[in-house]
């Protein structure tokens, strides 16, 4: 199926940037996203793959993971504020 679509100049610019970052042209990028939108919902476990397998092997609990991530998020926010403040 071939579609012809009108989008705003802003959307075109953002799509072009995203397509370039993904290393494909805008048509390929847009077509891939339309395919994904039309596809059945994906399993997060499938997307995560080796990441979740490694986490399961690590023996870390959900609570420990949460504490670690919160500490990293707050450290990142502090660094970001310090950078902004110059």
């Amino acid at each position: 199926m071939v579609l012809s679509l009108s989008i705003s100049a802003e959307a075109e610019a953002r799509l072009k940037a995203k397509a370039a970052a993904a290393g494909v042209d805008i048509e390929t990028y847009a077509a891939r996203h339309l395919e994904l939108i039309a596809a059945p919902p994906r399993s997060l476990k499938e997307i995560s793959g080796p990441i979740s397998e490694d986490f399961a092997r690590s023996g870390m609990s959900e609570e420990e993971l949460s504490e670690f991530l919160e500490a990293e998020k707050h450290a990142m926010r502090t660094e970001r504020r310090e950078k902004r403040a110059g």
């Binding site: 993904a22 996203h33 994904l36 939108i37 919902p41 994906r42 399993s43 997060l44 476990k45 997307i47 995560s48 793959g49 080796p50 990441i51 979740s52 490694d54 986490f55 399961a56 690590s58 959900e62 993971l65 949460s66 670690f68 991530l69 919160e70 990293e72 998020k73 707050h74 450290a75 990142m76 926010r77 970001r80």
Partner: protein, 157 residues
């Protein structure tokens, strides 16, 4: 809760979901991917997610792989509605960056924020001084951790 229930997840709910898809945060994000709740995100939420998952300690601890991360971002962008340029109605002195999640929820007309962030969760704790003012201003907005959210989802089915 239904597919029209609007929700906002904080950035670590997404990271935790990726590491442990079968855990509470993972189940929350899976509900959004399957369209069983309506997820709202913003460019700032995605930026924060990218920044946290770019930190060397996080990459090392969770063995994050770029290809999987990009796949995850793509899935979120498809599953969620992206909102940008909304007003900053709420500010939060205790952690100014948390206010964005509240403002996103208000802009999306979402009634639920899912987070494990203590600063955000304390807004629901009436024993905390900041909670009273928050709940008076936004009586219909609630902040739940992933376990509480799942409990409410299951009991609503």
């Amino acid at each position: 809760m239904t597919a029209t229930t609007r929700v906002v997840f904080d950035c670590n709910t997404f990271v935790q979901a990726l590491a442990a898809p079968e855990g509470p945060a993972g189940q929350c994000v899976q509900l959004a991917i399957e369209g069983k709740v309506s997820l709202f995100i913003s460019p700032s939420v995605l930026d924060e997610l990218r920044e946290v998952t770019s930190r060397p300690k996080v990459i090392a601890k969770l063995h994050l792989v770029t290809e999987r991360m990009e796949d995850f971002f793509e899935t979120l962008e498809i599953a969620a509605t992206l909102l940008a340029g909304f007003p900053e109605v709420f500010s939060y002195q205790r952690d100014p960056d948390d206010a964005h999640y509240v403002n996103l929820a208000l802009a999306a007309d979402a009634k639920l924020i899912v987070s494990r962030d203590k600063d955000l969760l304390d807004l629901m704790d009436v024993s905390k001084p900041e909670a009273g003012d928050f709940q008076n201003r936004f009586p219909s907005l609630r902040i739940l951790n992933p376990v509480q959210f799942l409990g409410e989802f299951v009991s609503s089915q």
